[in-house]
Every structure is written in structure tokens, then in C-alpha cells.
Symmetry: D2
Subunit: 155 residues, 4 copies
């Protein structure tokens, strides 16, 4: 496995919520990311489809990692929107995000979320959003400060 993907996998593994959802980074290169989630019963809503919150998580996190692939690891999602296209029924959820435009401090990315069922991928949601490098503005400085305070407290 290449170093870039390995680095991304470690970053994802450091997120407890991503472990709870069972997300795996299956592709990661500058400007592109693929996040894969095995669909388990606990990820569903009352009708048996994947819960929208899981699809949102996948889109949000894929966007973040796409942004991070060009901005570095210290990034947060500033905002995004998502359109759900069809009920997500199947065995695996795959979110693929790409960087559309980036500067030193932020990246605008798009993400397509697919559900694998009946042997093929079906597009079930599309998303678009902004990823910001933290510590580069007063806006995101709050994240850095809070993380620093947390680190010092843990010493």
C-alpha cells in the first residue's frame, strides 16, 4: 500500500465515530478519496434503508479527506449540501470525493455516494462543500486553540 493511503487510513482510524460506523479508506490520492462502509443493520433507519445520517457522514468525511489530501491533515468541513437521490439498499456504501478548486486555505469539493446492490453501483446521493485548513484564520483558529488546550490538559 502506498504511503499516502496508509497515512489517510491512520487519520481515519483516529476518529472514534468513523470506527463506530465502520468506515474504511479504500482510495486516497491528492485530490481524490474513496470511503467504503459495509452496510450493517445498525446503520439503517426504520424502513431498512441506510440511514441518511450515515450517507451524510460518508459524504461529509469523504469531502473532508478530499480537502485534506491537498490542504494537509489539519482540516475541517466548513459547510456542505447533499441531495439524496434514491433509497440506499444494498451491501456496501461507497463515497468518492474530488477536489474541484483549492487555495492554500480551503478547497471546494464534490462527492458522489453509491450503494452497491444487485452487483452494481447505484448513485444514491450527491454532495458539494467547502473544506478549510484550521489555524489559518480566526474562524478556524478556535479549532486549533481548543485542540491545543486539550493536548496540554492531557499532559
Amino acid at each position: 500500500m502506498d504511503d499516502f493511503l496508509q497515512f489517510g487510513k491512520q487519520a481515519l482510524a483516529s476518529q472514534p465515530f468513523s470506527a463506530l460506523v465502520g468506515a474504511e479508506l479504500t482510495g486516497f490520492s491528492p485530490g481524490w478519496v474513496e470511503l467504503t462502509i459495509l452496510i450493517t443493520p445498525q446503520l439503517k433507519q426504520q424502513h431498512g434503508f441506510v440511514h441518511g445520517g450515515v450517507i451524510s457522514y460518508a459524504a461529509d468525511n469523504a469531502l473532508t479527506f478530499a480537502g485534506g489530501s491537498v490542504l494537509g491533515p489539519a482540516v475541517v468541513t466548513s459547510e456542505y449540501k447533499i441531495n439524496y437521490l434514491r433509497p440506499a439498499m444494498g451491501t456496501v456504501l461507497i463515497a468518492r470525493a474530488t477536489v474541484i478548486h483549492s487555495s492554500k486555505t480551503q478547497a471546494v469539493c464534490r462527492c458522489d455516494v453509491f450503494v452497491v446492490g444487485d452487483g452494481k453501483e447505484n448513485l444514491c446521493a450527491v454532495s458539494q462543500g467547502t473544506i478549510a485548513r484550521i489555524g489559518q484564520s480566526s474562524e478556524t483558529q478556535a479549532y486549533t486553540d481548543a485542540a491545543d488546550a486539550k493536548s496540554r490538559a492531557a499532559d
Copy 2:
């Protein structure tokens, strides 16, 4: 507890993913909903803040329940956008959504997400989106058909 809230709590309880996240419906009346999540370690990202995916889940689901409070229980989120305002650090996450405008088939709603810390509520995200009644259009008929097929298969 009033019947409306009780009904909403049952709907939320029927969502495995909401149980996994630990969401609780703490307020529910026509046009308004409050969703509360106790912040546990497994809901965090690598810097110790609540993971954006959890905040998105809370906004998405609060929007859905707000829409459902006026459209009936058979609803799905069609689309929404979210802006994250500050890192979510604290003990409890509260998402409050209201219906801005509704017709027979859909509702446009807004949601504010707060994190409770240091004894006060801090706004950490704002969201806006569309909730659609399923089975009312070819778009959402797919959800109804899929759910029906699932029910029949389970007989």
C-alpha cells in the same frame, strides 16, 4: 408525556442508527422538534470534538422529524445544507428544527444545533433543507415500493 411526543419517540426508537448514536427525542410538536444526544467518546473525531457526521446526523434527523410533524410519519429528507460554526465540545448536543413552509407533499425546514458546555448552549451548526412525503410522487414512490417489497418478503 403527550401522545405526539410519545409517537415521535417510537419512530426514533425504530431507527437502529439513531439508537447507535444515542439520540433522544426531547421535544416534538407540529412544526417543531428537539433532538438530544449525550456526547460520548465514540461520537468524536481525532481532535476530541464531536464528529461532523454526528452533527450532520442530528441536523438531518431533526429536519426529517420536523417535516414529519406536519406531513405525517412517511417522510424522507430530500436535501439539506449545513454550516458548521465552531468546534462542538461539551456534554450534550441539541438539534432544534422548525418548519418554515409546508405543502401537502413537502416541507422546508431549518435547524439549529447547539452544544452544551460550561453550563450554557453554544450554537455550533445551522442547517436548512427539504423534507418530502414518500409515496406522493414517482421520486418518493421508490421508497414506498422498496419498503413494501421488503415487508412482503418478510411475511
Copy 3:
């Protein structure tokens, strides 16, 4: 010129605001549209760039026409989001939209807006939204009813 494009051009010509902005339909086929606007001084903001409102108009209308290319002419934009990527300086604005997913009643589309300058196209905004067929739901019935009332009043 093919009939489909001709039909689209007539639809655009029937919009007084599109005439005011000077928009021209330069490409139109099922699932795809290209809208072109010559950048005149009156379309700018105070710094000499194309006003965001013009870029929004272009994205909104390209999304609507893309939706209409598969849903028929009686459509409205339900919602969309737009990210501005860079200042739009140049001679011509081009908005290209495609249908990502459609049903009988609505279509989810994406749009890229380019500004032509220094002999090349530069992406200056990206957009994503939902187009709805009117008269197919109580939501959009209001548009049909209002248009009908207007027609009768004009008799």
C-alpha cells in the same frame, strides 16, 4: 439549428429577466444545457467583477433548463446551492448544467460556471440543485394555479 435547441431558445426568449441580463442558450439537449452571457459593464459589481447575482442567475437558469430538458418545459427550480471559486473577470460567462438523476417529477442537476478570459475558460462557480415539474404536486400546483389565473385574467 436542431428543433430541441430552437425550442429552448424560445423558452429563454420568453423570460424578460433573461433578456435584461442578455443570456443566450448556446447548447441544449436532453440532460445538458449551455447558457452564455456576454459580460457587459452593467452586469458587474463595484470591483469590476461579474456580480454574484449574475453568476447565480446563470447557474439557477442553467439548472432549470437542464431539468426542463428531461422533465418538459413546465419546471421551476426548487432549491440550489452555489460555491463561488474565484472572481469572474473576462468577456463571456458560460454556465453548463447536466442532469445527475431524474424521476417523472424532479431532477437533481449540477452546474459549472466558467468565465472566459485570456483565451481560456476558468471555472468560477459550481452549483447543485433540484428542479421540479410544476402542477405535479400541491407544492408546485400553486405555480400552475397562479399561471392559469393570470392567463384567464388576460383573456
Copy 4:
């Protein structure tokens, strides 16, 4: 008229596109703005309603001025989303925007757009977006550089 509103009116007057649309700043204070547009035939689409592009312009510009009311005049809209709620028929369009959260470099704002008809205001669109101070990041530095280059060229 107070100085703040007077200052805002001058800023709006410096935008050729706002003059073309006929927008007027009717309220402006830190964190709040009201933009009013007299509905003329040239602002409509083919069914006689106000064109969505005009409503988008109003929302976009109201969001920008709201952000500018707390960040200073050198701002741009980074992104926003809008939901159209009903056809805009009437005599006057009013967009009111408020700042939800701001830092030194950006502000997240919401906007409600009303159409005045039959003697009352009807909510016809809701919007939410991010306003950025220009020249504060590499992202927005492009706007400052371009404006500077333009100024020097004009000397």
C-alpha cells in the same frame, strides 16, 4: 438617515448590476440588512412571476451586505443555498438577512425573501450562506489582487 445606512446605500449604488435590477437598501445596521426591489416587468420569467435569478440576486446581495455589516465593506459571498417556497407575485420584493455567527474573517448568515402582494408580506424564499472578508486568505487574496491590478491599470 443614519451614517451606517448611508454608507451601505453608497456601496449598493456602486454596483452596476444592483442598479440594473433596481435594488434599494432600506435597512442596514450591524448584523442586519433589508434590501427592497420594486417588481418591474423586466424582472419576471415567462409565467409572470419574479424570475428566480432576481430572488437569488436579492438573497445573495442581502447575505453579502449582512456579512459586510460586521466584517467591513471588503467582502464576498463564498457560498449559499436557497429554497424557493412559492411563486413570487406582487409589487415589491424584500430580502432581510441577519448574521448568525461571525469571526474576524467570515460570517454565516441567513436571509428571508418576501414578496408583497394583497397588502401583506409572503415569504417566498429562504437562504443561508457564508460571507468572507477579502484579502484575509489566499482564497480571497485573488479578489484583492485582481482589484488592485484593475485600479493600477486605471491610473
